[in-house]
Symmetry: C2
Subunit: 192 residues, 2 copies
């Protein structure tokens, strides 16, 4: 089998399993079975489980942000609509049957106490996501503070959707984001 193909099948299997069951709960044997490659091959491509975990997180980070940006681009150039589109995309994600929360929040919760690499991967992913949101909100005329607040709404929606098991938090977050954006563009009336 081609090396690149093996690599991809291993990462596909690792992502499915790590995301669904947690990293520590999945043994290398389970990844091997799901990937259909030999253990020897896996250790040639990923010398340790930690390397596989890092590759899993790195690929998921890139794909997740790409998918989000692609969706945002489908709504056109209107800046406020682009911000709100983030929450529609989140709602679609939350409603998927295999949704299990944010992989980075999950692996941070599982391994931050023991793995600096996982901690760094989570931080990197969230930094990138927040930077992207900052860019979208700034384009919509919001302040940096509003951008940070909208990021908190998105993060809160992820954990609440995961734990509650419903996609509704995405809509609540979207409504709140709209309010915050509107406030920025159009301050409240002064007291009567």
């Amino acid at each position: 089998m081609d090396t690149d193909l093996a690599r991809e099948r291993i990462l596909d299997a690792a992502e499915d399993l790590f995301y669904a069951r947690g990293i520590q709960a999945v043994g290398m044997d389970a990844v091997r079975d799901a990937a259909g490659v030999t253990l020897r091959r896996m250790y040639q491509l990923f010398p340790s489980k930690g390397d596989l975990v890092e590759a899993y997180l790195a690929r998921r980070d890139a794909r997740w942000l790409d998918s989000l940006a692609t969706h945002v681009d489908t709504v056109g150039p209107t800046a406020q609509a682009r911000v709100l589109a983030v929450f529609d995309w989140l709602e679609d994600w939350f409603a998927r049957p295999d949704f299990h929360g944010c992989a980075f929040i999950n692996s941070f919760g599982e391994l931050a106490g023991t793995s600096p690499q996982v901690t760094a991967a989570a931080r990197h992913h969230k930094d990138a996501f927040h930077a992207y949101l900052h860019q979208l909100t700034t384009a919509a005329g919001a302040t940096a503070a509003t951008g940070a607040q909208i990021a908190l709404l998105a993060e809160g929606a992820m954990t609440t959707a995961a734990i509650s098991g419903t996609p509704a938090p995405a809509r609540h977050a979207k409504a709140a984001a709209l309010n915050l954006l509107t406030l920025d563009a159009r301050p409240v009336a002064s007291p009567a």
Copy 2:
């Protein structure tokens, strides 16, 4: 040693270790060493590690909410101030050197895929927290939707503070919560 005292020492040790390093990363031997009791005694009081984990989460849930409510009560009866006090309390928590995120989000991320008990504990804790926030926000004249939005801000602040390692998200969340509350009480001016 008294049974109640042993129970408490075991739970104290378990909480310190599980919260700091994650549940799966901490063996029963480590809890025994930290608690200063014998393994036999631990298994008399908690017949399995799963029982210990459940007891850890149950006690933390109760204490966490009690601590929050106690703080909120110190600010007096003004409804809006009581809502905002939640975020001050969160900021204090985030700034503590041993802060490591929300124990329930962490254990959910670590064990939701394999333990229905942990999933239920996380859901129960978040339901209780959101119900408390709903009560506070309703008292401040906000709609249920605004209450849910403020809950998302609090959740987002927890994960963002944990991963970024700074308490700043509490202040951003507080500012956003104030905006949302104000908006509820005093709608934006209609378009010119």
